[in-house]
């Protein structure tokens, strides 16, 4: 039961966060007239529904186990405070106040880990980073380099990886990947490095 209360609480907060954000962003979308409902009608309805669902979930969490609030409170208050401070600070120095979202997101993950223990941080970071790495390298460094970088990061995501076995498997995957997608299907993907990636502008 403990886990379920935590899940409902975190889900509720997530829905409120996203719904609230969508309401804020969509505040100036035109509503149109009844004959021609405007851009803002459905987003607004859906956002309110999402926020409402979130509040019901919070309520359910408290009904299941009131103590869950106690577990969540420090992180919740901390993240909210950090988020306000960052947003305010950013607007003071002339930057986007939207930077306040960053501590809110980090805070959400910490809160989720607190109320639903057992997050797989290592695979989470490794797999996400591996995916991002592939995207950031494939059209500049080519398919082979992108595969080596991204798949190695992914393999580092689990302690079960046996590196000699991985090396052999990587070679097979590269042969398979280049063979299927570039030669067989003829996709316009560079195999070898063609340029310095844009995000490494300082190396140019």
């Amino acid at each position: 039961m403990r886990v379920r209360a935590g899940q409902e609480l975190a889900t509720g907060l997530l829905f409120i966060l996203i719904g609230g954000g969508a309401l804020y962003i969509g505040a100036d979308y035109p509503m149109g007239i009844p004959q021609r409902p405007g851009t803002g009608v459905l987003p607004r309805i859906l956002s309110w529904c999402l926020v409402g669902t979130g509040f019901v979930l919070l309520l359910q969490a408290v009904v299941i186990e009131a103590a869950v609030v106690k577990r969540a409170a420090p992180t919740l208050i901390g993240a909210t405070a950090a988020s306000v401070v960052v947003a305010f600070g950013a607007s003071m120095i002339g930057a986007e106040p939207a930077w306040g979202v960053l501590p809110a997101v980090i805070g959400f993950f910490l809160l989720m880990d607190r109320v639903v223990p057992g997050s797989a941080w290592r695979p989470l970071f490794a797999v996400t980073l591996a995916t991002v790495a592939f995207g950031m390298t494939v059209d500049s460094l080519g398919l082979i380099a992108a595969m080596v970088i991204s798949l190695t990061i992914c393999a580092a995501g689990t302690p079960e990886t046996r590196w000699p076995e991985y090396a052999g498997f990587l070679l097979i995957m590269i042969a398979l990947g280049v063979g299927t997608f570039v030669w067989l299907l003829g996709m316009p993907i560079p195999v070898w490095p063609v340029k310095v990636p844009d995000w490494l502008w300082f190396l140019r």
């Binding site: 899940q7 975190a10 889900t11 997530l14 829905f15 969508a22 969509g26 979308y29 035109p30 149109g32 007239i33 009844p34 004959q35 021609r36 409902p37 405007g38 851009t39 459905l42 987003p43 859906l46 529904c49 999402l50 669902t53 979130g54 019901v56 979930l57 359910q60 989720m112 057992g118 997050s119 797989a120 695979p123 989470l124 490794a126 797999v127 996400t128 591996a130 995916t131 991002v132 592939f134 995207g135 494939v138 059209d139 398919l143 992108a146 991204s150 798949l151 992914c154 393999a155 689990t158 079960e160 990886t161 046996r162 076995e165 991985y166 498997f169 995957m173 299907l185 996709m187 993907i189």
Partner: protein, 502 residues
């Protein structure tokens, strides 16, 4: 409808499905599907998402035939490992493992596998005929739908998806709202305004369906599975003699019939599909049996019923997708994604405008089922060997196929990054116990519902009562409301929770 029309439709279907190339794709789909079904941790939805970009290189018929093959192939593969090594490869074969594995331990794996395969084939054949008979009248009905009716039908579909979802109702509801909101990202086609794009140019066209599906189902699952320590103890049992005894056949006959009927019915409902079919059938057989306490100790009824039910449900869940263009579960959402890649708008017009595609696909499902029976029984040894591939290597290959698949869509690196984002979101949903399937349905239906809402409002000159004045629309809305109220009522909710716990 006249009988000769049924036969001419089927004849057309046979001519398409039996063309060598389409037979090859059907075979490939069934083969890949079986492999996927055997491997735990790799689901049919993720696989179909992975292969969607590749289907771009196929003909529309070939693409859909292959995608469908993956789905029912996965059901077969899932039950094979459920019986042999007590590892249900798919959620729908969880109940098969109960009695199937017990039979295998008694040295009767052969008959269990044979009954599972034959029962599935029988159910698949019946369900194919159900589609043939149900599709034309339903399509005709759908052609009379006004925009308001469509809007209400989609509302009903989403409500039923919430009702059928296992777990919290509020979570499923929220996931639908969230999915619909995500579906609105991009340019509003009616007004040209952009929504939730954050000024990012690559978001003006919205986020591709494949990206969302691969992130949620592919990447999210990799993270989750890598986090779980691997515990796969392979207890291979010797398979001696596939032939079921006369007694086995006699005892399986009625469960297969009941399972086919029950599964076929549940498959049509949105949110239903194979999982619900097999669970309900197991519960039903247990209730009807004179010796319910023996279930779990190797009762052939407990294999025959659920296996027939999950296959029947897998087939009939195509009905709403093919006739109304409404996906009833995540797999059907993938099929719609596959159609849209080829520029086919799913809906009642598909049957008239692309009869070869429509009937070819239906017949191919029957053909694929037959192939599976012939192929699978001799290949069982190979499938069990596949379980020896460790997940640490599987994870790497799935990640690569996700990345290259998304990148190959438009050669946009930014889309790979969006997929990473949805992967994180997918993992969060798994942690929070939120099923991603309702989100996917909302994502597909949200923008469509907006289009129909706008048309309905325009036609009624801004009178929202149009949704209540049209009889069809009103009927759909009433069913939706009743379903929602019923599921919230405490005692039914309790029964529902029990059903999902079985």
């Amino acid at each position: 409808m006249e009988l000769d029309q049924v036969f001419s439709n089927l004849a057309l279907g046979f001519s398409v499905a039996f063309s060598p190339l389409n037979m090859f794709w059907c075979f490939m789909g069934a083969l890949i599907g079986t492999a996927i079904g055997v491997l735990p941790g790799v689901g049919p939805v993720a696989t179909m998402a992975l292969l969607l970009p590749i289907t771009y290189f196929l003909t529309p018929e070939g693409a859909l035939i292959m995608l469908a093959g993956i789905y029912y192939g996965a059901q077969y593969g899932g039950s094979t490992t459920a019986i042999l090594v007590n590892l249900p490869g798919e959620a729908s074969s969880v109940v098969t493992a109960l009695d199937g594995y017990a039979m295998a331990r008694q040295g009767r794996a052969g008959p269990a596998l044979a009954i599972a395969a034959l029962g599935s084939f029988f159910a698949g054949t019946v369900a194919t005929f159900a589609i043939v008979l149900a599709a034309p009248p339903l399509t005709k009905l759908a052609q009379q739908f006004a925009p308001a009716d469509y809007f209400s039908l989609m509302t009903l579909g989403l409500v039923l998806a919430v009702v059928m979802a296992s777990g919290s109702i509020m979570k499923a509801l929220g996931m639908i709202f969230l999915g619909m909101l995500l579906g609105l990202i991009g340019t509003d086609v009616n007004t040209g305004n952009t929504r939730f794009t954050f000024g990012i140019g690559d978001l003006f066209d919205g986020i591709g369906f494949v990206i969302v599906a691969m992130g949620l189902f592919g990447i999210g699952e990799i993270i989750k599975n890598l986090g779980d320590p691997e515990r796969r103890d392979l207890v291979s049992s010797k398979i001696s003699g596939l032939m079921p005894t006369r007694e086995d056949l006699r005892r399986s006959f009625m469960p297969v019939l009941r399972g086919t009927f029950l599964g076929g019915l549940l498959g049509i409902l949105p949110g239903g599909g194979a999982v619900l079919g097999s669970f309900s059938s197991y519960a039903l057989e247990k209730k009807l049996s004179p010796t319910p306490e023996k279930f779990g100790t190797g009762m052939i009824e407990g294999v025959a019923g659920p296996e027939a039910a999950n296959n029947a449900a897998a087939q009939t869940s195509f009905i709403p997708m093919l006739t109304l263009g409404i996906p009833s579960n995540a797999v059907m959402a993938m099929m719609i994604g596959g159609m849209m890649i080829h520029g086919i708008v799913p809906g009642p017009q598909v049957m008239e405008q692309k009869p070869d595609l429509f009937w070819g696909m239906i017949v191919s499902m029957w053909l694929g089922n037959a192939m599976l029976v012939i192929l699978n029984l001799p290949l069982i040894g190979i499938w069990v060997k596949m379980l020896l591939v460790p997940y640490r290597l599987l994870a790497i290959s799935i990640l690569f196929f996700c990345c290259i698949g998304v990148y190959s869509l438009n050669n946009l690196w930014s889309e790979v990054l969006f997929m990473a984002l949805f992967g994180v979101l997918g993992y969060v949903f798994i942690r929070l116990g939120c099923e991603p399937a309702p989100l996917l349905l909302g994502y597909l239906l949200g923008p469509l519902m907006e289009v129909y809402m706008r048309r309905a409002m325009l036609l009624s000159r801004g009178d929202a009562m149009v949704f209540l004045e049209r009889p069809l629309s009103l009927t759909f809305l009433i069913i939706a409301a009743v379903a929602l109220i019923l599921v919230i009522l405490p005692n039914i909710r309790k029964a529902r929770e029990e059903a999902f716990q079985e």
